[in-house]
């Protein structure tokens, strides 16, 4: 198995997905690294590698979540978003962006981990079969899960036609 090639191909998208899933870039990077260690040690027999990596890394992130939340809380005075922020540009624009990020994060957090995972994997272009494999559900129920998640987010975010973009 060419792990270097797989890492080059999949780690950027996996990292982006995990940051969207958790809001914690450091935890996301740790989960990517650990998932690749496990890929070498115990390669998947049946799943496609990409789906396997997303499933394993999401589980790692969720297992480590409690510890990291404690650690983040200890970083006194630094809200979670500050850890993700890039250097400031125009202050007003940054404020708007921070506000939008906060709203999107809060809305995503209202979804169950499985629904959030399905929605975010769909945004990365996974098929319903792959999403079902990764989330442990049936291919037929992915549409229901995604519809439910979109409707819930639309109640909190400007997603619907006719509303503000």
């Amino acid at each position: 198995m060419d792990v270097e090639r797989l890492y080059r191909e999949h780690s950027p998208v996996l990292f982006r997905y995990l940051v969207r899933f958790s809001g914690d870039a450091e935890a996301a990077a740790d989960a990517v690294q650990e998932a690749f260690v496990r890929l070498v040690e115990r390669p998947p027999r049946q799943d496609g590698v990409r789906t396997w990596l997303f499933r394993v890394a999401t589980n790692l992130l969720r297992e480590g979540g409690r510890t990291r939340t404690r650690r983040l809380r200890l970083l006194a005075g630094r809200p979670l978003d500050a850890l993700l922020s890039d250097p400031p540009g125009d202050p007003a624009e940054e404020l708007d962006r921070d506000e939008r990020r906060r709203s999107v994060r809060a809305a995503l957090e209202t979804l169950s981990p499985r629904d959030r995972m399905a929605l975010l994997m769909r945004a990365e272009g996974f098929s319903h079969r792959e999403i079902a494999e990764a989330t442990g559900t049936t291919t037929g129920s992915v549409g229901t899960i995604v519809n439910r998640a979109l409707a819930k987010l639309a109640a909190a975010l400007p997603l619907d036609p006719g509303g503000p973009p």
């Binding site: 270097e4 780690s11 260690v37 999107v104 769909r122 319903h128 549409g143 979109l150 997603l159």
Partner: protein, 101 residues
């Protein structure tokens, strides 16, 4: 235009599957034909499409601009197997014994 009274609307789940390209060819054609005749289903489809596109835009707001600040460029080195430390120690001891002999 509305479909004939006997033709049922397409469910939201099936419209989402249609949008995601998840339908088999026959089903895709059937739903596509219905959409041409049914304004209500077309509106629902447009809602699902807009929700998906706008969510994609909002998700991009969460992305880290320089992932390389967090993510190493290369995969991690393989973890040392659990037996490696005792084996290394044994090899050192064996080497000492051989050296002493």
């Amino acid at each position: 235009m509305t479909p004939s009274t006997r033709e049922e609307h397409v469910s939201r789940d099936d419209l989402l599957r249609w949008l995601d390209g998840e339908c088999a060819p026959g089903e895709r054609a059937r739903i596509g034909g219905h959409l041409e005749r049914c304004a209500a289903c077309m509106t629902t489809l447009e809602t699902l499409r807009t929700r998906s596109e706008r969510l994609d835009g909002l998700l991009r707001e969460l992305d880290v601009e320089r992932p390389g600040d967090h993510l190493p460029r290369r995969p991690p080195a393989r973890r040392a197997p659990r037996w490696s430390a005792p084996v290394r120690r044994a090899a050192v001891v064996a080497g000492l014994l051989v050296g002493a002999a």
